[in-house]
Symmetry: C2
């Protein structure tokens, strides 16, 4: 059994133009041509196309796909293992994004009683603790988010203003410590971190030192957190992150 371009295209969901292109660049040459010059693809070509499409779907440039598939040292099983690994990475990344979007949605619902102007007035632009549950999920214990939901749902606008004031206070003192050259892993900085942890525990959810350390990692790893702190003072994201993790180690040790 063999196929013409059009048939293969329909079978695999790509366009005829794409197959022409792959022929031209040498990525997938039909194993035969008819007397009239028609491309004729056989089953090996189909197999190869399948591999090409997986790699392409994973974002590889076509030239690299060609070198991968033409490598005589790479057996089919190796391709499968590689593809499996890459697909799982992608799966993880996507579910992280899904979780992040869900948290954003929930955060919005949470603040539903406030008008956009009020929210902006209260939070400046962004309240990092809203995203804490993202860390939670990564470090287990998903009960915390529900807890946070319950507590914050019951909070009045005045409560929110107090939260905001406390947050500003701690963050301001972090920034001051950074500016004064206080080491991020000094006792003073760790005390601030501990205050920060208790602030979260009081207003949002039980924030164990372990969970707090997880948050600390996110303060530099997650662009939104990083941006929040960098906006207050350059280098603050790294500084708070270090202090928080040092404090967590101290609490544990």
């Amino acid at each position: 059994m063999s196929w013409t371009v059009g048939e293969l295209a329909r079978l695999t969901g790509v366009t005829v133009r794409t197959l022409h292109h792959y022929d031209r660049i040498g990525l997938l040459r039909p194993s035969e041509r008819t007397a009239a010059g028609y491309r004729s693809y056989d089953v090996r070509d189909l197999d190869r196309l399948h591999q090409v499409l997986v790699y392409r779907g994973l974002g590889f440039p076509l030239e690299e796909v060609a070198t991968l598939l033409d490598d005589p040292d790479a057996d089919p099983a190796e391709h499968l293992r590689r593809q499996h690994r890459l697909l799982r990475d992608r799966l993880e990344a996507t579910s992280a994004m899904v979780a992040a979007v869900e948290k954003e949605m929930e955060a919005r619902q949470m603040g539903i009683s406030l008008t956009p102007e009020e929210r902006f007035e209260v939070f400046g632009d962004w309240l990092p603790e809203e995203y804490a549950a993202e860390a939670e999920e990564r470090w287990g214990d998903t009960e915390a988010w529900a807890q946070s939901q319950r507590r914050t749902a019951a909070m009045s606008k005045e409560d929110w203003l107090r939260v905001k004031a406390e947050t500003d206070d701690v963050e301001g003192r972090f920034a001051a410590a950074l500016g004064a050259g206080v080491a991020a892993d000094s006792a003073a900085a760790m005390d601030l971190a501990e205050e920060h942890r208790q602030h979260i525990s009081r207003w949002f959810y039980d924030c164990s030192p372990e969970v707090h350390a997880g948050l600390g990692e996110m303060y530099v790893a997650d662009e939104r957190f990083a941006a929040h702190y960098e906006r207050i003072a350059p280098g603050l994201a790294q500084y708070v992150s270090t202090a928080v993790r040092a404090n967590a180690a101290r609490q544990r040790g």
Copy 2:
């Protein structure tokens, strides 16, 4: 707080060139310029960039991203909902691909005692039942795959040759029936389907009519199955699929 191009680029992981581009095409204009003409991005720009990157990551062309974000009727919550939906779709698609690759790997392991040449000699190019577990997963009852693993692991090369001969026989008679104009939902075709089902049950795993019907769906929906049958005779994938499902209905009823 505001940022220069370079700072925003580092913060968000895009390149300066990309930000220039987005400015040029009007997708993300910095809300200010310094006296010297430097771009100055504020927090709203950061927010917008965030949205842009999510949509871009989902594969939207930039122009469409712009219209989405500039639509005055679409509030932020709607964007979040849309993004959530799309991300979940992608998640589903990716995990389907992961499952497919895993099945391929397991199938390879199953045939590990045969050299590639022998495998090719025995199977032609591809044995559809190897992939049955993919259907299994979709219709529950994952015990079947393990059963298949146990049985096939104990099979000799001679057994495989018998399997291959039986498979060819049934498929050949399906093709003949198709060629002879026998209706796919006729009793004769259903008898062939029943034979096919028992063939699977004998050699691989208990294949209930329900599971068989699931396989039947896959024979047209999955390009690899479809290709296998189309290679024997054009239209055979649809034919076998219909016969198998008709037989399943008959067995149930």
